[in-house]
């Protein structure tokens, strides 16, 4: 079995996955069990954030624990433009993405003087500084936050252009928007991975001095990598803000917006394009199903669901520390072909 049939296998898996992802919410819509569409939305959103984090964490190899700052910047900018100026959320998303990438570049450039763990704590520092600003800045309503009024458009096209879905189709609509954004993110990430940028990032990760020796400006390209990550997080923040119909500091700056995508990336396979997608498909449903089954009933509020979740995470880490995509899938596929 040579490389081309391996690629064939990859295409087949990809095609089947795409069909499944497109068809997934339809039986749920017909049966009215839309809760699992929301789970699907959260999987897609976290997968998208994970693909974004993979750029700075997986390829450029920098510890970044503060991308949630840019999630919040995106969410706030789109919400303010919508509430105060009546801008379309899609225009707001564009503005939020550009602003987040620019702010990230300005903030991160000085921080790149710090390396390794010192840089990691600096990204945490920006988050710690952003929190009280978000909670006290009156322009963005302080800790009360912004509420997004419902102004949905007519018909399917109107709903999509207004990025607002209400009633029975709410979960369905946001699911497909998230799927589209994830597909776009994966497409762009693939371009980065295959292109000049991807090589520069990996060169800096593997040997910073060596990369500088061949003329790669490591500080510049670390900033570029983090700004790409920031742009993806900002887009995710806009989507989440309109889904939640509110943006407030405790929600938008929640630590989960960095830990969940990082965990999804690590569990799927860090530095691999599809790693975060696989990781999110494993982690998010487990946590959601846990909290609806073990988190309710007589033992509600005793954290049983999170204990089990913690045990599962610990087991995955201990049994497969290099990520699930690092398993010998190719060899297994070959064996399957030979035996059949």
């Amino acid at each position: 079995m040579d490389g081309s049939s391996g690629r064939l296998w990859a295409r087949a898996v990809l095609g089947a996955g795409l069909v499944l992802a497109l068809a997934y919410p339809i039986p749920l819509q017909l049966s009215g069990y839309t809760y699992f569409q929301t789970v699907g939305f959260l999987v897609l959103l976290n997968a998208m954030l994970g693909v974004g984090w993979n750029v700075i964490g997986g390829w450029a190899g920098q510890f970044d624990f503060g991308p949630q700052v840019f999630f919040a910047i995106g969410a706030y900018i789109a919400a303010i433009l919508f509430v105060h100026l009546g801008w379309s959320p899609w225009l707001g998303m564009l503005a939020g993405v550009l602003a987040a990438a620019l702010i990230c570049a300005l903030v991160t450039y000085p921080l790149t003087r710090l390396r390794g763990h010192y840089f990691a704590i600096a990204t945490v520092a920006i988050w710690m500084i952003a929190q009280p600003i978000g909670a006290t800045w009156e322009f963005i309503n302080g800790s009360r936050g912004l509420f997004i009024p419902i102004q949905t458009g007519q018909g399917v096209l109107g709903a999509v252009t207004s990025l607002q879905f209400v009633g029975r189709t709410k979960a369905l609509g946001y699911y497909y928007v998230a799927l589209g954004l994830l597909a776009l993110t994966l497409f762009l990430a693939r371009l980065v991975e295959r292109g000049k940028l991807g090589f520069y990032f990996r060169a800096i990760r593997d040997d910073q001095e060596g990369a500088e020796g061949v003329g790669i400006d490591s500080r510049l390209y670390k900033v570029v990598a983090r700004s790409i990550t920031a742009a993806v997080f900002a887009a995710g923040g806009v989507l989440y803000g309109f889904w939640a119909l509110a943006v407030f500091p405790e929600q938008a700056l929640d630590l989960n917006w960095s830990t969940l995508p990082i965990m999804a990336t690590v569990v799927g396979g860090i530095g691999r394009l599809w790693g975060p997608v696989l990781g999110a498909m494993i982690l998010i449903p487990i946590s959601q199903v846990m909290s609806t089954t073990l988190g309710t009933g007589p033992l509600a509020g005793r954290g049983i669901d999170l204990i089990v979740y913690g045990v599962i995470i610990v087991l995955i880490a201990a049994l497969r520390p290099t990520g699930i995509l690092s398993l010998p899938w190719g060899r297994w596929a070959r064996r399957l072909v030979r035996t059949s």
Partner: protein
């Protein structure tokens, strides 16, 4: 002016306790370069241990910090041997993943056993002394916090001597420096890592037992201390024990002075702003070797 001086003194007292909270992380993260997101959960377990021993057996936290420290040493070694030793084979990011799982597990086990209620210790030696203070040059020193601070300082200096002046400490540093070379001279790295995790867990749990005199005990208390401890270790410089002490004092003073002039929400923001400022001037931390 007295207000400022008072704030500085209070900050220094708190700083010594922060030093003991952070020094366990200096060993695990700063020296052995392993990431532990559950550091604050060890502190939380130490607080609950002291609270439980006080409520059921009437042991004062100043006494129960011995059994609490020993139990947490065992837990730290166990966590390294059963979990982190395997995790070390993967990417460093896997350590983040694994210890976040550990954080969920430990924190929510405490929720399951003790519920999320806030608990306070009263009728301990230190809480009974509350209100008594020493006056010095117009500045008052709270006696309970002063005793806690001195205790923390004593433990801290003992650890410093252990790491810097004994054969065991040198073996630990050698393992951190170059694992293969350490093996060549007969040091077992796995053993050293296990001891480092044991020491790290025990020290922060002892700090938790002392802090249970001053702070509410509840399962979610850990995270804010974890974040602060990481800032202190990085500010002090990687692998430097005395750097950790100095950084902890800086953090205590910055927090305490900030709250005099600004809303309390900003106290950690200024700690982290000073981290960035100092980091830009000295990218290797105050006393870091690299």
């Amino acid at each position: 002016m007295t207000l400022l001086l008072q704030a500085v003194v209070n900050g220094l007292e708190m700083g010594f306790l922060y030093a003991l909270v952070a020094v366990g992380l200096t060993i695990i993260w700063g020296l052995m370069e392993m990431i532990n997101f559950a550091h604050g959960e060890f502190l939380m377990l130490g607080m609950f241990g002291a609270w439980w021993l006080s409520v059921t057996f009437g042991l004062d936290p100043l006494v129960s910090l011995v059994p609490v420290g020993l139990a947490m040493y065992a837990l730290g070694v166990l966590i390294y041997q059963q979990l982190m030793r395997r995790v070390q084979r993967g990417d460093p990011f896997t350590q983040i993943f694994a210890t976040i799982g550990l954080l969920f597990l430990l924190q929510n086990s405490a929720v399951a056993v003790f519920t999320s209620d806030y608990r306070y210790l009263s009728n301990t030696v230190l809480t009974r002394l509350s209100g008594s203070s020493l006056r010095l040059l117009g500045v008052s020193l709270g006696v309970p916090l002063l005793i806690g601070a001195l205790l923390a300082l004593g433990l801290f200096l003992a650890l410093y001597l252990l790491i810097d002046r004994t054969e065991f400490g040198l073996a630990l540093q050698a393992t951190a420096e170059d694992r293969e070379a350490a093996m060549l001279v007969g040091i077992r790295p796995q053993h050293m890592f296990a001891v480092a995790w044991g020491l790290g867990a025990a020290l922060v749990a002892v700090a938790g037992a002392i802090l249970s005199n001053f702070f509410a005990v509840f399962p979610q208390v850990g995270l804010s201390f974890t974040v602060l401890a990481y800032a202190i270790v990085a500010l002090g410089g990687f692998g430097s024990i005395l750097g950790t002490l100095l950084a902890a004092l800086v953090v205590g003073v910055v927090q305490s002075v900030t709250t005099v002039y600004l809303p309390p929400a900003f106290k950690d923001a200024f700690v982290f702003a000073s981290y960035i400022l100092i980091g830009l001037l000295r990218p290797q931390g105050l006393f870091g070797r690299f």
